[in-house]
């Protein structure tokens, strides 16, 4: 694995990597030129299908299959929506792509639109990404100048317009159909499926919604071929007939208590421990890992013992997590209180629940109320069982609500309490020894201050506590790290 050469991040770090000239000088738009000259849309779609590319937005749905749901002979327009509303806590890989290599995203988008016969693409960009907005807009303008966008692209019959739509600053806008509703100018309440967007999506027309990173992968599949793509990652588990395998490169975002947080690239299936220890330089300040969110907050928690799971689409599931999610790792060291973590998680999801489905709207707010009370010292042991029951009620895979937000809200609760129950019980026993129920819920303030360790050790330590050699961090040539700004 050490000889892995970065693909998605290849241009990151190059001066002016966001400019078209630099991108073209480094081989950009060659795939587009070749495809428009040589390939039919069906061939492009077939290449993506055979590559085994799965959506990088979180659910891991096979992209080729998603495209195949489009009605074959639809007379009207087909729309492409680029989901750039990256808002899963702990995730920032799309931002890196859009800020440092927007042309890669655009080339993938143009190719995907060609494959799906879409003549209009909307990039639904997270509101809080102003630099991405500027760079993407500049890139789109450059593409129009160069004839990569507009009418009769590069002399072919293919026409495409790309519009950048700045999002509505809500987590739910990143949900496929919530995004569509928001793009239509409505409240981002996810739609009930069926009909699926491929049949009836944006403006009631067939629509494909793909993640930024997925589209960036499309560019490389067409440049290097599906066989190259399948050579990376984890093949299907022969024991599981449903598993299509996890292929291709993946961006991993590491944040939290590590020495070098950042966005790293590797093939799918890298063990979680390798990402934390080898790439991110181990846990900060010489501490040990307590828990790791494997792929964005929704996916739940891994314990320190579960760090050997491969980071592919099935690995975290085996450890009881929701899935790979967005591969946004949040590392928590031993000073971190799981009560604080869960309170924060509940607060996030209660705040971001769109409020449409009853179990999610009420379940997230109820669990927040309980966590507020526990954190403020009014918890009782039976609250933990109640929390688990609420979580099971709103998110059983497959869930009870229209979209997956409820599942995502439920998973941290389930994992935190099931995997770290002694800590919760100890906290409740300590803060509310008699188990009385406060007559009025105590307003949530700041919880008890956790003792902070002095930063005495500059030594890097691996997640299991063993010392890392001083030069372990930063030696592999394919590692790319970016400041979190």
């Amino acid at each position: 694995m050490d000889d892995y050469q970065p693909v998605l991040l290849a241009n990151v770090g190059v001066e002016d990597s966001h400019r078209r000239a630099v991108y073209e000088a480094r081989g950009g738009y060659a795939a587009l030129r070749r495809v428009l000259r040589e390939c039919t849309p069906a061939q492009v779609a077939e290449a993506v299908r055979s590559s085994g590319l799965r959506g990088r937005g979180g659910a891991g749905f096979p992209t080729g299959l998603k495209w195949s749901f489009l009605p074959a002979d639809h007379p009207g327009p087909v729309y492409m929506c680029v989901n750039a509303d990256e808002s899963e806590p702990g995730t920032f890989c799309n931002r890196v792509l859009m800020e440092h290599d927007p042309h890669q995203v655009l080339e993938g988008t143009i190719l995907s639109c060609y494959a799906t016969r879409a003549s209009t693409a909307y990039i639904y960009l997270r509101y809080e990404y102003p630099l991405s907005l500027r760079r993407l807009q500049q890139a789109v303008d450059e593409c129009y100048e160069a004839g990569y966008l507009g009418k009769k692209i590069l002399g072919s019959d293919f026409c495409l317009d790309i519009y950048i739509h700045r999002g509505a600053a809500a987590y739910i806008c990143g949900e496929e159909t919530g995004l569509i509703e928001s793009l239509e100018g409505k409240r981002a309440w996810p739609r009930i499926k069926p009909p699926f967007p491929a049949v009836e999506g944006l403006f009631r027309k067939p629509t494909v919604v793909n993640n930024v990173e997925t589209l960036a992968c499309v560019r490389h599949i067409l440049e290097r071929g599906p066989e190259w793509f399948r050579s990376l990652g984890t093949p299907p588990d022969p024991n599981q007939s449903q598993d299509p395998g996890s292929f291709g490169p993946k961006l991993y975002c590491v944040s939290g208590h590590v020495q070098r947080p950042g966005c790293y690239e590797g093939p799918l299936g890298v063990p979680c421990r390798v990402i934390i220890d080898n790439w991110a330089g181990g846990v900060r300040e010489g501490r040990k890992v307590k828990a790791v969110v494997p792929g964005g907050l929704s996916t739940g928690l891994l314990t320190a013992d579960e760090l050997d799971v491969p980071m592919d689409f099935t690995g975290p599931v085996k450890a009881g997590c929701l899935g790979l999610g967005t591969a946004g790792l949040i590392v928590m060291d031993e000073t971190c209180s799981l009560i604080d973590f869960l309170y924060n998680s509940c607060r996030f999801f209660a705040h971001e629940s769109c409020g449409q489905c009853t179990p999610c709207r009420e379940g997230t707010s109820w669990s927040l109320r309980i966590m507020e009370r526990i954190k403020a010292g009014g918890g009782r042991l039976k609250d933990l069982d109640l929390l688990l029951e609420i979580a099971d009620g709103m998110g059983i895979i497959p869930g009870t609500t229209i979209c997956g937000l409820a599942d995502g809200a439920a998973w941290p609760i389930k994992n935190a309490i099931r995997k770290f129950r002694p800590e919760f019980e100890e906290y409740i026993r300590r803060t509310n020894p008699r188990g009385y129920l406060a007559t009025h819920p105590v307003p949530a303030g700041h919880g008890p201050v956790m003792p902070r360790l002095e930063n005495t050790q500059s030594q890097s330590r691996a997640s299991d506590g063993r010392n890392l050699p001083a030069e372990a961090a930063g030696s592999a040539p394919w590692r790319k790290t970016l400041p979190l700004a």
Binding site: G355, R361, E362, W366, M394, T400, L437, P441
Partner: protein, 552 residues
């Protein structure tokens, strides 16, 4: 021609082990299909007249498919909302499993987390989905320690919103977007802080706004007119027909002790679907208007003195016969039966009596809404029916204007104006024309220049007090039942003419309608039993009762 095979090739669905047959081409969802099998699937957000959002999650059921060849059933692992599950051949629904029961109990518990359980002062108590479902599907224990409750009121315009009672089914929001097309209501905030609201300076104010109160499954949207007036379990309802315009909406008239408290729409796919307009909804106070005429009075010189009905009934035939040439003015507010009996009677007195339909009130143009609902410009319920009766007895009769001119020339010695108008309809000059007759008998609801001029003034019955049939603008005949008794001394037209004709027994509009159907071709379809949704008179058959449209 499509041949429909009845028998084993009919598409079938299976609900809790019950087999139901689907008609070819029929599109039912799980809730509708289960209702056909007599199984209720609880739901809040789904309404047959609105788009499907599937957000309340109360109708979650287990779904699957049965393979016709092998009989093997494959169930989906996930609970699906029945409202968004199309029922096709081989669809299997399970609504009584432990898993479903748990999901329902969870939704009920969730909805009651912040609901102020103020049923004792809530208008909806007794017909509240939340209440009913809680007893049926909820759990006894309250585990949430969320208190105190708040109970905030907000004026939305035509209705009052009790903010905290809301279960966010969004039916009202969808109604204003899809049916009235006015889009006043919207959802503000997010998550558990969500509320229904209107934009500043744009209150809920449209001719259909009252329907959002009926749509609300809980007591969040309250009718300002009905608020705190009556507990719903004291109300008795009877099927009626709205008489405010020629659309002829099916309604429920809800009364307690002969006082109408509320009008609600009655589902009728062929007429009004699930809706009525505010004009019809809030028309009932007229029934109890103290200004209404009472009893029967006779003019003596310049004053009018009360008279005994028996004296009137004894004297009037002779007096009219003695008067000479007679004329009968039929109000388009009369029922078909009343108009028929009135014509029969006047012709018995004078075989050449003139019969004319009174003025047809019209206001502006038809008002058409986004969802297809129409408020007709013709503000009377039975123009077609009364005109058919009149032309049966007096083919090619004069128009009202022509007749009035003739009356002004004194061509008629006795004039009987039958049936009332719900609003002022006659002016001084018309009254003066009719006054030329030697004997003028007026039946009406409210005092008018005409009643002031009449020799006899008979108090008529209002819409909730009469029984009989109306023909709406689309030739649909519907039968209204009597909801309340008329005030003491007032006689509805039907029983009055029934008695004047010397027919025995109690007034029986059903029998009269059968006679009409046998005698007049236009009404021939009305010979049998009239279904609740009425019958279309243009086709010579009973209207197909549309397949169960739902159980909203």
């Amino acid at each position: 021609m499509v041949r429909i095979e009845i028998g084993k090739d009919m598409p079938k669905a299976y609900i809790d082990g019950n087999e139901i047959e689907l008609n070819p081409g029929e599109r039912l969802n799980g809730i509708q299909a289960a209702a056909r099998a007599g199984i209720e699937i609880p739901h809040y957000c789904w309404h047959p007249g609105l788009s499907v959002v599937g957000s309340c999650r109360m109708c979650l059921v287990e779904t699957g498919t049965r393979d016709a060849e092998s009989g093997r059933v494959i169930m989906l692992p996930k609970l699906m909302p029945a409202c968004n599950t199309p029922v096709k051949d081989g669809t299997v629904l399970v609504t009584n499993s432990e898993k479903v029961a748990r999901a329902r109990a969870m939704v009920e518990e969730d909805l009651l987390l912040r609901h102020p359980i103020d049923c004792s002062i809530c208008d909806k108590a007794g017909e509240c989905y939340l209440q009913d479902y809680h007893f049926q599907y909820g759990q006894g224990e309250r585990r949430a320690e969320i208190r105190p409750f708040t109970s905030r009121k907000r004026d939305l315009g035509d209705v009052t919103l009790f903010v905290d009672r809301c279960v966010m089914c969004s039916r009202c929001v969808r109604f204003t977007r899809e049916i009235s097309g006015t889009s006043e209501l919207l959802v503000i905030h997010r998550g558990a802080r969500e509320e229904i609201d209107v934009l500043p300076e744009q209150p809920l104010n449209n001719p259909l706004s009252g329907n959002v109160v009926d749509l609300c499954p809980v007591g969040a949207l309250a009718d300002k007119d009905f608020l705190y007036k009556q507990r719903v379990w004291y109300l008795r309802r009877s099927a009626g027909v709205c008489t405010l315009c020629a659309t002829g909406c099916s309604i429920w008239v809800e009364q307690n002790q002969d006082r109408v408290y509320r009008i609600k729409p009655r589902e009728n796919p062929a007429v009004n679907q699930w809706w009525i307009c505010n004009a019809g909804r809030y028309a009932y106070p007229r029934v109890h208007d103290p200004k209404r005429l009472r009893g029967v009075v006779r003019r003596k010189g310049d004053s009018q003195v009360p008279l005994d009905w028996n004296v009137f009934l004894r004297d009037i035939p002779e007096q009219l016969r003695a008067a000479g040439k007679l004329a009968l003015v039929l109000s388009p507010f009369l029922t078909v039966e009343e108009a028929y009996l009135a014509c029969q009677w006047i012709r018995r007195l004078d075989a050449a009596a003139e019969i004319v339909v009174g003025p047809i009130p019209r206001e502006g143009d038809d008002q058409r809404f986004a969802g297809g609902f129409v408020i007709s410009a013709e503000k009377c319920p039975n123009r077609l029916g009364v005109e058919e009766i009149a032309s049966h007895f007096r083919p090619n009769g004069p128009s009202y204007a022509q007749w009035l001119e003739a009356a002004g020339k004194g061509e008629f010695e006795g004039i009987w104006v039958a049936g009332g108008y719900v609003r002022p309809w006659i002016d001084e000059s018309a009254a003066a024309c009719m006054r030329r007759a030697r004997l003028l008998v007026v039946q009406d609801l409210f005092p008018s220049p005409l009643s002031d001029a009449a020799d006899y003034v008979l108090a008529a019955a209002a819409f909730a007090e009469t029984e009989g049939s109306y023909v709406n603008a689309r030739h649909r005949l519907q039968t209204a039942r009597r909801a309340v008794r008329p005030p003491l001394g007032n006689r509805p037209c039907g029983p009055l003419f029934w008695e004047l004709l010397g027919r025995t027994g109690l007034y029986d509009p059903r029998r009269v309608l059968s006679d009409i159907a046998a005698e007049i071709t236009y009404f021939s379809a009305a010979s049998g039993e009239i279904p609740d949704v009425g019958i279309d008179l243009r086709v010579d058959r009973l209207a197909e009762v549309a397949p169960q449209q739902g159980t909203a």
